[in-house]
């Protein structure tokens, strides 16, 4: 049997029971590997449940820094008897199984082609602790200790992490170090180490940060100046407002008065959340809500109002598997169409498409500026994969002294000076009208905001020409938006090619890796990463300049594909779809194989016709 041998390049998966405290132990392991200078990208695979159900933590250790899910498992840490059989079956041939050997298991429960590493974790924990909760929690640290020796992670790295985490809590610090060493000592006395897969110090983490997209989005909203947040709990977006609250408590409390420069309301439902955001945006505060697909469905009436009445709104949509309740704890990019065209009548909305926590930060901050500038709803379309998993990414940056773009808000002085105010009048040619905020001027600039049709001076009107003027202006505004949103990023192939690929959001790390893999197979593609909708002209040009452009995304129906075909009038046959939608994050293996197959088939067909 050939063992898997790999330094700084393997996948380790922890199978746990949720509510057992394993999440923090697993995160500790991932952080320790990163402190060794080796990139890790972990993913939580968890149920829609609080306690007692299976949960997994899959960590990809990859010196090259590919953060996409790889697929396959080299080492399984099997801590959950409920899922034992499927967990064992998932290990790659030649891989490793780590388990709690306190209770003997029949040989039929193991595989011949997998190296079995049993550590009596329960025995060790029970001997050291009497309190049941401590036994459980420290058992997790004990297995992390055992794994650290097997995989060659230095003890000092953990000790430093503990010291940072338990600063000022010396007793906790001491007991964690003790538990870690219980695991380490057992392996050192009883087993051969390190294994064929292991970690070796490297220098590939650099100044990157390790964080999740939801916290990053929340921080971006704090930096971007959101003062009103209204939300309703829904997986996987709940941690956005929660993190917003945490950061606000830290950064937005007036030191002199103790008063808050923010207001957060947990609303009674998504309809009320978006209603509050619309009210606050109408009244000149930067406001946001965070939700997921089902929440957007409930919000669509208000989204249409905000589009038509032209009110700044920021919506963070952390997408999950749909339709309906769908897969609440799994990932998809399946709300592209429902957000781009949300609400009845002719509507179009701006979507920002962050690829990682770094961009969740920048795009969320930018969304607030764009909302004010464009006076319309702006969606930040993240998903569960980026939102709820920690990811290595570029550190956050903020230009010192940068102000906010509050858009076209007419002041009392301008009104007093006699500047003409037509709330829905295009005076600058960019489709964006001027607005006034309630309370600005005693006699000038007041208007009635409504969802019904109106003339450029905000007077109720059902006249066809008034309606057409308004709808055409909204289109013009949308065109303006295409140049204000984050622009697409192109990666050219090493040699000229007629093949292109378009992708976006959380697909990005897997796509980058797939492009490298395809290149080694002499398959070359130019790649364009979309960062937003509406599409600027560069998207059109990219597609025109290639014969075939694959569109890679994580939904069943090729929603971005449809959006491109619909908005840019391309023949769908030119844009083959590469779709992954089982709820797990897309992998480089999947993308590379799907694209290679079609490129090779096309090459063969061409040869035949020649």
């Amino acid at each position: 049997m050939k063992r898997i041998e790999a330094v700084n390049d393997f996948v380790i998966k922890f199978a746990n029971v949720n509510g057992s405290g394993s999440a923090s132990a697993n995160e500790l392991f991932a952080k320790a590997v990163m402190r060794m200078g080796v990139p890790v990208s972990p993913r939580n695979i968890f149920p829609s449940n609080i306690q007692g159900m299976p949960t997994w933590y899959e960590a990809r250790v990859c010196e090259k820094g590919y953060h996409g899910r790889r697929g396959g498992v080299d080492m399984m840490v099997a801590m959950n008897p409920q899922t034992w059989d499927t967990d064992i079956a998932e290990i790659e041939s030649g891989g490793y199984l780590f388990y709690d050997s306190t209770r003997p298991l029949p040989p039929s429960k193991f595989r011949d082609d997998v190296l079995t590493l049993g550590v009596p974790l329960t025995d060790i924990a029970n001997a050291a602790y009497t309190d049941p909760r401590q036994r459980q929690l420290f058992k997790n640290i004990i297995y992390v200790g055992a794994l650290s020796v097997l995989l060659g992670v230095d003890a000092e790295v953990f000790e430093k992490l503990f010291a940072e985490q338990y600063k000022g809590k010396e007793r906790l610090l001491e007991s964690n170090i003790k538990a870690l060493h219980m695991g380490r000592d057992y392996v050192k006395t009883h087993m051969a180490y390190p294994l064929g897969i292991r970690v070796q110090r490297a220098d590939n983490v650099g100044d990157q940060i390790f964080t999740d997209g939801n916290s990053a989005a929340a921080l971006g909203l704090v930096y971007g100046g959101a003062t009103v947040a209204a939300w309703y709990p829904i997986t996987p977006s709940t941690s956005v407002p929660e993190a917003f609250q945490k950061y606000c408590e830290k950064f937005r409390v007036d030191p002199a008065t103790g008063q808050h420069r923010y207001a957060i309301v947990q609303a009674e439902d998504e309809l009320a959340s978006i209603g509050m955001v619309v009210g606050a945006g109408w009244n000149g505060a930067r406001a946001f809500t965070a939700t997921s697909g089902p929440g957007v469905s409930l919000m669509t009436e208000f989204i249409g109002l905000a589009y038509f009445a032209e009110i700044p709104v920021t919506i963070v949509n952390v997408q999950r598997g749909g339709p309906s309740t769908g897969m609440p704890t799994r990932t998809q990019q399946a709300d592209i169409l429902s957000c781009a065209y949300a609400s009845h009548g002719d509507t179009k909305h701006v979507l920002l498409l962050p690829q990682d926590p770094h961009e969740c930060f920048t795009h969320s901050a930018a969304a607030l500026d764009l909302a004010d500038r464009l006076q319309t709803p702006i969606f930040v379309m993240t998903d569960l994969d980026i939102g709820m998993n920690q990811r290595l990414c570029k550190p956050f940056v903020w230009e010192e002294g940068k102000g906010y773009d509050r858009g076209k808000v007419m002041t009392a002085e301008e009104l007093e000076a006699g500047k003409d105010f037509g709330r829905y009048k295009d005076v600058d040619g960019d489709g964006i009208p001027w607005r006034t905020l309630p309370g600005t001027h005693p006699t000038k600039g007041a208007f009635f905001t409504r969802g019904t049709t109106r003339n450029p001076y905000a007077m109720y009107s059902e006249r066809g020409p008034d309606y057409i003027y308004n709808m055409e202006r909204l289109l013009r505004k949308f065109k303006t938006a295409a140049n204000l949103v984050p622009q697409p990023i192109v990666r050219k192939a090493k040699q000229p090619t007629r093949f292109g690929v378009i992708y976006y959001g959380s697909t990005s790390p897997a796509m980058r890796e797939a492009l490298d893999v395809l290149e080694t197979q002499d398959l070359h593609l130019d790649a364009m990463r979309l960062c937003a909708f509406p599409f600027p002209d560069s998207v059109q040009e990219f597609i025109v300049s290639h014969d075939t452009v694959f569109v890679v995304e994580q939904n069943r129906d090729g929603q971005m594909h449809s959006l491109i075909v619909n908005e840019l009038d391309f023949d769908p046959a030119k844009l083959p779809r590469v779709l992954h939608y089982d709820g797990t994050p897309i992998t480089a293996r999947f993308i590379a194989s799907a694209i290679a197959k079609r490129m090779e088939a096309q090459a063969k067909k061409q040869k035949e016709t020649v």
Partner: protein
């Protein structure tokens, strides 16, 4: 309804209030509602109340939902910003607007369809949160714009214009507001201006969630025999608990009353509501008493009106959230953005 444009010209002898406005400065566009509609009387009462309160019109934000009543904000306070939102969702929009700028006065105008059917949840939750606002429901028990269907406040056994008998129990918005913690609850009748104007003034001056249910007969679809929301029915069954005078701080009190006849209730801003009691034993600062009283009288088919309950020292959502005195919408990057150095520290903690 009239097609005659309102003359813009004001008579030079028109009285101005303390902030220099005439009553006409509080008017809006010509109403497009049916002639005799109760809602127009309420609009007139709002105009009168704001003028008498010396409120600058632009310091009021008026919000509404959808329906006949929700059209009315166009017909008063033309110099105020208005927002005709979506059906049943005015409370959430008003809540957000209020959070953005606590310096303005918020007037929510809604109807029985808007607040008791589609918007019952938002109505209830805005009351629970104590959003500072004057929330007026123009209650006619019927859907006017869609031509005469029963609304959720129509009494069981009442008859529609087409002769249908309503079999559903009515939603009692006053009862709900009392139960859910509104701190100023009143009921009035659009045909009783003398009662309605001081009630609106008290609601605007109130420091928390103020709710007024105004029975406002629909002359076109719900003013017939068998209706319990008609002018005749309400006049015959109106049971007022008190008569109210509203006095601003420092105002000289000239009328004298016999002892025990009046109760003065001072609100947080120093304004005084002087209640001339019509029912000697009614205590409007006792929520439980108010709820019982309402239940008993409603069982007898009486429409109890007047100031039913108030907590004179009520606080609001801003107090609960400890929000800045300074309006949130006036903050900018220097006050809101933690800056680059703080970000460096955050980055360091994430490595």
């Amino acid at each position: 309804m009239t097609y005659i444009a309102k003359p813009r010209l004001h008579h030079p002898t028109l009285h101005t209030n303390k902030v220099g406005y005439t009553r006409r400065d509080y008017e809006g566009r010509i109403s497009t509602l049916c002639a005799g509609c109760g809602h127009d009387s309420i609009s007139a009462a709002i105009i009168q109340a704001c003028w008498e309160l010396d409120i600058e019109p632009h310091r009021v934000a008026k919000l509404s939902g959808i329906g006949c009543s929700s059209k009315t904000p166009d017909y008063f306070l033309g110099a105020s910003h208005g927002f005709n939102t979506v059906h049943g969702r005015m409370p959430s929009v008003l809540t957000g607007a209020n959070l953005a700028n606590r310096d303005l006065l918020y007037l929510g105008v809604s109807g029985d369809g808007d607040s008791a059917s589609i918007g019952l949840g938002q109505f209830a939750n805005a009351m629970r949160r104590g959003v500072r606002m004057a929330y007026i429901v123009e209650n006619n028990g019927v859907y006017g714009l869609t031509k005469g269907q029963f609304s959720a406040t129509a009494d069981r056994g009442s008859k529609s214009k087409k002769g249908v008998i309503n079999s559903d129990s009515p939603v009692d918005l006053v009862g709900i507001a009392l139960q859910l913690g509104a701190t100023y609850v009143a009921r009035s009748f659009s045909g009783d201006k003398a009662q309605l104007i001081p009630l609106i003034k008290g609601a605007i001056a109130h420091g928390g969630a103020a709710f007024i249910d105004v029975i406002s007969p629909c002359v076109t679809f719900n003013n017939h025999g068998g209706s319990t929301k008609s002018y005749d029915y309400v006049r015959q069954h109106n049971e007022a608990v008190s008569r109210i005078d509203f006095m601003v701080p420092g105002e000289e009190i000239t009328t004298s009353y016999a002892p025990g006849e009046v109760v003065d209730v001072a609100q947080h801003d120093g304004s005084i509501l002087r209640l001339r009691k019509l029912h000697a034993d009614y205590d409007p600062t006792d929520r439980t008493v108010a709820m019982n009283y309402m239940q008993q009288h409603s069982a007898r088919g009486e429409v109890v009106t007047g100031l039913l309950y108030m907590d004179p020292l009520a606080t609001d959502l801003h107090t609960a959230l400890n929000t800045s005195e300074h309006p949130l919408n006036a903050f900018n990057a220097p006050e809101l953005c933690p800056g680059g150095k703080a970000l460096e520290k955050i980055n360091a903690a994430l490595r």
